[in-house]
């Protein structure tokens, strides 16, 4: 099992009242799956995504990555795990605005400690793989939305993560470009990558092999 959540609960204190964002959620994600986490706004799907992405820790319950427990690890350790095992794709692309596409893709490699020469090589290859070999030195503001998202996907893949975690990846794209991005994700999945897609859009979710529906902090299907 690539990732498991066992009876995970997450509560916040909001203005004195306790808010239960997640309530006893248990999910398993196998290697090579294409899973969509679907739910309306406020359902807790963002919180669930954060926990899946090791960006947050649960109030109670367990999180296991490759069957090893990571629940109570320090932020420094989690950062390292994220670096090596989670590839993020965000709705707003989240590229560094004042560096090139190449340098954006290199960023996870920097935090891993990879040397400059090797970084350049690997990042170039990855950008070529997503079809942006001609755009290595462009800044994000010189790229279209679809191209920026592809840079983000190249960045997500650069350390060969266990999971590609995509949060509304097509949310800021027009329907045609959105479809292209989705197709790219499916292609990567066919090549063996595990993809977890988080969305509120059922049209997007339906393309996944499995859907985890979430409502009011609980998994409902």
């Amino acid at each position: 099992m690539i990732l498991s959540l066992r009876n995970v609960t997450k509560t916040y204190c909001l203005e004195g009242a306790e808010v239960r964002a997640l309530d006893g959620v248990s999910i398993d994600i196998k290697e090579g799956e294409f899973v969509a986490i679907v739910g309306p706004s406020g359902s807790g799907k963002s919180t669930l995504m954060h926990i899946v992405g090791l960006l947050d820790t649960p109030t109670s319950g367990k999180v296991l990555l490759e069957d090893k427990e990571v629940t109570r690890m320090s932020e420094a350790t989690l950062a390292k795990l994220r670096n090596e095992h989670i590839g993020f794709v965000f709705q707003q692309f989240n590229l560094l605005p004042r560096v090139s596409a190449l340098e954006n893709v290199e960023l996870p490699l920097i935090y891993k400690g990879v040397g400059a020469g090797e970084r350049r090589q690997r990042a170039t290859k990855m950008l070529e793989m997503v079809g942006l070999g001609e755009r290595l030195n462009n800044w994000p503001n010189q790229l279209s939305g679809g191209q920026q998202q592809r840079v983000a996907i190249a960045r997500a893949l650069i350390l060969n993560p266990l999971i590609i975690l995509a949060d509304e990846p097509t949310g800021n794209l027009d329907s045609k470009t959105g479809k292209d991005i989705l197709d790219l994700l499916h292609k990567l999945n066919k090549e063996g990558h595990t993809v977890v897609l988080v969305t509120h859009d059922s049209d997007v979710a339906v393309s996944a092999k499995r859907q985890i529906k979430i409502r009011d902090g609980k998994v409902v299907s």
Binding site: L55, A79, K80, V114, G115
Partner: protein, 406 residues
Amino acid sequence: MERWFRKMQFNQIISMALRSLQANKVRSFLTMLGVIIGVASVILLVSVGSGLQKYISNQLEGIGSNLILIVPGKLDLKKVSQGGGPTAGLLTSKLTSKDAKDLVSNSSFIKAAAPGTTAQAAIKYGTEKMFSQVVGITANYPEIMNSPLALGEHFTETDDRGGRRVAVIGSEVAKTLFKSDDPLNKKISIGDTKFTVIGVLNSRGLGGASEDHVVIPITVAMRIFNQQKVQVIYAQANNAEQVDQAIAEAKTILLNRLTEDDFTILTQKDILGAVSSILGTLTVALGGIAAISLIVGGIGIMNIMLVSVTERTHEIGLRKALGATPNVILMQFLIEAIVLSAGGGIIGILIGGGGALLLSSVIPSQVTFWAVLLAFSVSFIIGIIFGVMPARKASRMSPIEALRYE
């Protein structure tokens, strides 16, 4: 594996920090300005202070370490260097020319003594006029002061006894009154009396006669300025080793006629010490004020770094998501602050040092190594102290909230 990993990253973090600072050059420079100005002024002031101290030491040392000064009244040099002043005794001197003669005849340790008077007068040559200090002194003055003339001769004992109206002028006086003409054998007026110039003083000289003074025989001075008492007696011990004994004997001799409060005996060492001490205190005080501006500069850096951290909240969240540990984020922002302050320090050192070197043609100034090292270290430390807080703020941000920040 961990150390290798961290070493690789460290260079990267430095270049990331430099990138960020480069991205907004104007802001970075303006932030550095506080430190630049602070360091430049500290270096400049300390250099001038050191230079002056050294210059004065050299001057005094050149005169001769067997020189003894006897001044009227009670003068406590320690008090003077702490900011107090000489007592009123200076104005009502009880010393006479005879005291000087007595010192030589009654002491086996005192080789020569020269009494001196001083007054202010208008000096005229043709249409040129200036106000200057007129020093009345005896013929043995250049010998006692170990300061030969630049031009011409000093007056002799005969001139002194005969009341001859001859004068030796300082180099500044020569320049002002005579411009490029040869002053020798020309006639000048001191007050209402005409004098013949027979010599020009060397530029270097201290303790009664220097560049902007005019020196005349003491008998003449006392007559035209209507003085009965002398303001100073220069005495020369046989050699440096006998100075203490000379002082002891001088005291005994003078106490025959005067009281303890009527005179003070000083050595060149005493004066050197006092001057050095005053200059030292001044340098430290001015340096301290300049150092305060360094703190202000540091606060400016902290301010800008805090703004920068807030502005880059989203970026910080992204970096954390991609694998930056809290320490890596802390390091990046800390390095940015240090680059700003240490960079400002280096520029400040260059400007301050350059300014000191430029000034050295007008005021003696000396850029000392320890001052530069201190200034650089302090600016570096300022970066650390004032950079830590914003850097910690950045490192502690929760990645989720940071990513949500618009």
